[in-house]
């Protein structure tokens, strides 16, 4: 399983990375904003992407649109501090398959990934 982490906060990126260390997940890249993320998706075609919504420049939803155009098979999990549910639902509308509120802890992240990947296996 190849993962791309997209978050403008370096601390957040490190937290996700640290929490997922125990799993058989290969982190193939990290992006701090939407444009960077789109470039990485183009180049590396990750299986799974964690995506922040609030980012400078291209925000998460716009980035999700781009990712789905380039690589529709990617499983995108939204990880956001944004409490607004409408934005979350819009992300699902655009093709996101997972959702997680910040701050994340190891348990929540593991559970969310299990769910995302189990769904994947079933297909």
């Amino acid at each position: 399983m190849r993962l791309l982490i997209v978050d403008d906060s370096s601390i957040m990126r490190r937290i996700i990375e640290k929490h997922l260390n125990e799993y058989e997940i290969e982190i193939i890249g990290m992006a701090a904003d939407g444009n960077e993320a789109v470039d990485l998706v183009k180049k590396k075609k990750p299986d799974v992407i964690t995506l922040d919504i609030t980012m400078p420049g291209m925000d998460g939803l716009a980035c999700l649109d781009e990712i789905m155009k380039i690589h529709p098979k990617a499983k995108v999990m939204i990880i956001t501090a944004l409490a607004d549910k409408l934005t979350g639902l819009r992300a699902l509308d655009k093709g996101a398959r997972g959702f997680l509120y910040k701050p994340v802890n190891a348990g929540d992240l593991a559970k969310a990934f299990d769910r995302l990947l189990k769904r994947n296996e079933n297909k």
Binding site: K85, L86, R97, F99, R119
Partner: protein
């Protein structure tokens, strides 16, 4: 063959029975016909026999007449003349009897076929008179007479032979033949008599006659032998019994004489008599046989008759019975088959209500029983099925009823959403209560929620439901984004709009791999949320209390006690003034109240009693609202209410303080040290608090802490003075950052309190800040503005005196008001407090550089405050 198999049973019966009946009737007909033939045969034989007997009688008379005629001729008319005449009349009478008999007989029936012979016989008998005339006229010789009569007799016997020879009964036929043989023998005996009569009449016999005679005797014996062979026992016995005696023997003897042809030593009449006697015996035998035959045929005829009718009657009887039985059986069979047919048809249509009733114990009856058992079994199974169905129905109804009851009584709103987001017809009663609407069933959920929630949440809800029914989307992921998980709704019931907090949860309902419904549960959390708020408030209050306690512990008890005492008295003065001054201007009263409360607030702030400063600020706000409009006594009540509330807090704190004071009383020396240490802490905190609030960074320094030996009775006042000075410094003294930088000062300001080494009489305290000092021009301007001095006086006033203007009551240079300064109560209060302690003070300043106040506090202070303090504690 298949055609036969496929025929209905009644046609099958017909196919079997009709040919059988036809055959039986045919055989019956033949049998009846046979019986009838037997009967008619016997009848005809009987009739023929009767006629034959008559003919035999005629023959017998003719035989006699022949013999007499021959005797008459042989004696040329001498003998037999008389006899002849008698005989002729005998003959004729028997012929008449024959005709009578013939006329009685059934000419058309039994004798029809013999009519030709009878006619011939009639002709022969009719020719008798010719013969007789010829005999009397001697026109015929003996041979001719013999010939004629024998012809007639032959004819007659042939007739008899033909008449009685037609029987199918062997026994009778045999006896008939016996009779005929016997008749032929008798004829030969009769001819023998005739020839003998001639021979004894003429006493001679030529050869020709003799050979004829010998032949006759031989033929006679042959016929008798034949008769003896075939005749039955009765005929034998009759013959033996009747043909015997003298005359028979004489005939044999005279016959021997004739054989000798030498001497015919006997009279012709004698011969004739014995021969006649013998023939009469023959006649008797003949009659005996005839009579027995007659009896026999009569019996046969009657038997045949009886048999014929018996058969017919029995035949009809049996036929009727057979037909009757057959019709009963066939009808019964066909009826039963019909019943079974109708029954099976009824069963095939599902009607099991009736049983088949067949009374017979044959196979069909057994089938019917079996059918009934089958029907019983079917009915049993049917009943079991029906019971099971009823049970299931009952269970279903029960479950339905239970769910209705649950739905009616559960406090949670429950309903199902379908894939078109329509709300189910069945929903819990709580729904109507929660939403204040009865229009729920079948409504689109988004439309239903539209008037209740904000548009953004509605948009989210529509999107959320779409994802909720998307099988590819994880339920937990979707449910994290439930926009109405906890939402405020505005529901209307009976025209009253109420605000509610509801929690809405969604659970998918799967059938196979498809989400068919989503179960929605709605709970009204208004109460629990309100409770939570209430809890938060009481939590806050608890926190307040804790803070109160902490305040008391942190702040010098004497400071608090003084403050509380002062505050209580001040507040009481407000109430008193309101009571006594009801008629005065309320607005003025309000202003007085405001100034008083503001003063208390400042004091609370500087000693760090946040609870009180916050409370007084609240009262200030209430008064500020009222200041800008016309007020009534009623409005003022709210202020009094607030003041009363503040009074209560003061009482609470006083009682707590008393408890703390008790502790201090137990440890007096410690208490003293604590008081002085806490004084420094209070001042430091006052600076820090004001510094943060006014965004002016200021450091506080307390020098020579060890010299802090202010008597307990002065600590409170001393603190008030210090706090008031700090307040003034923070508000008026310390400049903004930019101005300080321009003035070449450090950005951070400083306040220094310094104690000299205590002397025996007094303590010297120096207060100094590095603010802007006093702006005398500004002070003068404000003093003129407030009307303390005229412009002229101000211009004439020396600097030292101008500076003292700040100690005037109500003086302020501030244009704004807040809880820390600007109310114009500051420096006058300082002056009053210092003087109240019996101390002296000296003010020094340099504009733009510093402000400094030196206080000389004598050790021996007045004790009158002590008693006041007790008063506060006790109150």
């Amino acid at each position: 063959m298949k055609v036969l198999y496929d025929l209905p049973i009644r046609i099958k019966f017909a196919v079997v029975l009709v040919p059988l009946i036809v055959i039986i009737i045919a055989f019956d007909y033949l049998q009846i016909k046979h019986n009838y033939l037997d009967y008619s045969d016997a009848e005809r034989l009987n009739e023929a026999l009767l006629l034959g007997i008559e003919i035999n009688h005629v023959v017998h008379q003719l035989q006699k007449e022949r013999s007499i005629s021959m005797g008459f001729y042989s004696t040329d008319g001498y003998d037999f003349e008389e006899e002849l005449k008698i005989q002729v009349s005998h003959t004729d009478s028997t012929i008449d009897e024959f005709y009578n008999e013939l006329s009685r007989g059934d000419v058309d029936g039994a004798l029809a076929r013999h009519m030709d012979d009878i006619a011939l016989l009639r002709t022969k008998f009719g020719s008798l008179n010719d013969i007789r005339e010829k005999v009397v006229g001697h026109q015929l010789d003996v041979n001719q007479i013999l010939q004629y009569y024998s012809d007639i007799n032959d004819e007659s016997l042939n007739m008899v032979d033909q008449l009685i020879n037609e029987t199918r009964d062997k026994e009778i036929a045999q006896q008939v033949h016996a009779l005929i043989y016997f008749l032929k023998a008798k004829e030969r005996a009769s001819i023998e008599r005739a020839i003998g009569t001639k021979a004894f009449s003429t006493k001679q016999m030529d050869d020709e006659l003799y050979s004829q005679f010998a032949a006759l005797v031989a033929e006679q014996n042959s016929y008798l032998d034949a008769f003896r062979v075939i005749a039955d026992e009765s005929s034998h016995q009759a013959f033996e019994r009747l043909v015997t005696g003298h005359d028979v023997n004489e005939v044999d003897r005279l016959r021997d004489l004739i054989h000798l042809r030498e001497s015919f030593g006997a009279d012709a009449s004698y011969w004739y008599d014995v021969a006649t006697s013998k023939i009469n015996a023959y006649k008797k035998v003949e009659n005996n046989i005839s009579q027995r035959l007659l009896t026999r045929t009569d019996y046969l005829a009657r038997t045949a008759f009886r048999k014929f009718w018996t058969f017919i009657v029995l035949d009809i009887l049996i036929g009727v019975i057979a037909f009757y039985l057959m019709s009963i059986i066939v009808t019964n069979l066909l009826t039963n088959v019909g019943i079974l047919e109708r029954f099976t048809k009824r069963i095939s249509k599902g009607d099991l209500s009736k049983k088949v009733s067949i009374a017979t114990k044959d196979e069909i009856g057994q089938y019917a029983k079996t059918f009934n058992v089958m029907v019983d079994e079917i009915n049993k199974s049917h009943n079991i099925l029906k019971k099971e169905r009823d049970k299931a129905k009952f269970l279903y109804n029960n479950i339905y009823r239970v769910s209705l009851v649950v739905f009616k009584n559960i406090h949670q709103g429950i309903f199902l959403l379908d894939r078109k987001y329509k709300m189910s017809k069945l929903y819990s009663s709580a729904m109507e209560e929660i939403f204040g609407s009865e229009k729920i069933a079948g409504e689109n959920f988004a439309n239903f929620m539209r008037p209740l929630i904000i548009p953004r949440d509605l948009e989210a809800l529509e999107m959320f439901m779409k994802h909720l029914f998307n099988e590819d989307m994880d339920e937990d992921v979707v449910n994290q984004l439930n926009p109405i998980e906890q939402v405020k709704i505005y529901s209307e019931k009976d025209g009253v709009v109420t605000t509610k907090f509801i929690r809405v949860n969604f659970t998918r309902i799967w059938r196979k791999n498809r989400i068919v419904n989503v179960m929605v549960t709605v709970s009204d959390e208004t109460e629990s949320i309100l409770l939570q708020k209430h809890l938060e408030e009481s939590e806050k209050r608890k926190k307040q209390e804790t803070e109160q306690v902490l305040s008391i512990l942190k702040i010098d008890p004497s400071l608090i006690r003084g403050f509380l005492y002062n505050a209580k008295r001040t507040l009481r003065s407000i109430s008193e003034r309101y009571e006594t001054d009801k008629e005065s201007n309320l607005q003025e009263l309000l202003n007085f109240t405001f100034e008083t409360v503001h003063s208390l607030k400042s004091n609370a702030v500087v000693i760090g009693l946040d609870i009180m400063s916050e409370k007084f600020h609240e009262i200030e706000n209430v008064i500020s609202d009222l200041q800008n409009r016309d007020i009534t006594g009623k409005d003022f009540l709210t202020v009094l209410y607030e003041i009363d509330d503040a009074d209560k807090i003061i009482d609470d704190m006083s009682s707590m303080l008393k408890k703390v004071a008790d502790i201090y009383r137990k440890y007096p020396s410690g208490g003293h040290v604590v008081s002085n240490i806490m004084l420094i802490d209070t001042l430091e905190r006052a600076v820090k608090t004001l510094s943060e609030k006014m965004e002016k960074p200021v450091d506080f320094f307390f020098k020579n802490e060890a010299n802090l030996v202010i008597p307990n009775e002065h600590i409170e006042t001393f603190k008030d003075v210090m706090i008031q000075l700090i307040r003034n410094t923070m508000h008026h003294g310390i400049e903004s950052k930019d101005i300080r930088v321009l003035g070449g000062k450090l950005i951070r300001g400083s306040v220094v309190v310094e104690l000299d080494s205590p002397s025996e009489e007094l303590i010297k305290i120096t207060y100094k800040d590095d603010g802007r000092g006093l702006d005398l021009t500004e002070i003068k301007g404000k003093a003129v503005e407030h009307g303390y001095v005229t412009q002229y006086e101000a211009d004439q006033l020396p600097d030292e005196e101008a500076a003292k203007l700040i100690f005037k009551n109500g003086f302020t240079t501030s244009d704004t008001v807040n809880e820390h300064a600007g109310r114009g109560q500051g420096m006058s209060a300082v002056k009053n407090l210092i003087e109240g302690m019996g101390a002296y003070f000296e003010m020094q300043f340099e504009q733009g550089k510093y402000f400094k106040l030196t206080i000389d506090l004598p050790y021996s202070g007045e004790q009158n405050l002590e008693s006041d303090e007790h008063e506060v504690i006790d109150s």
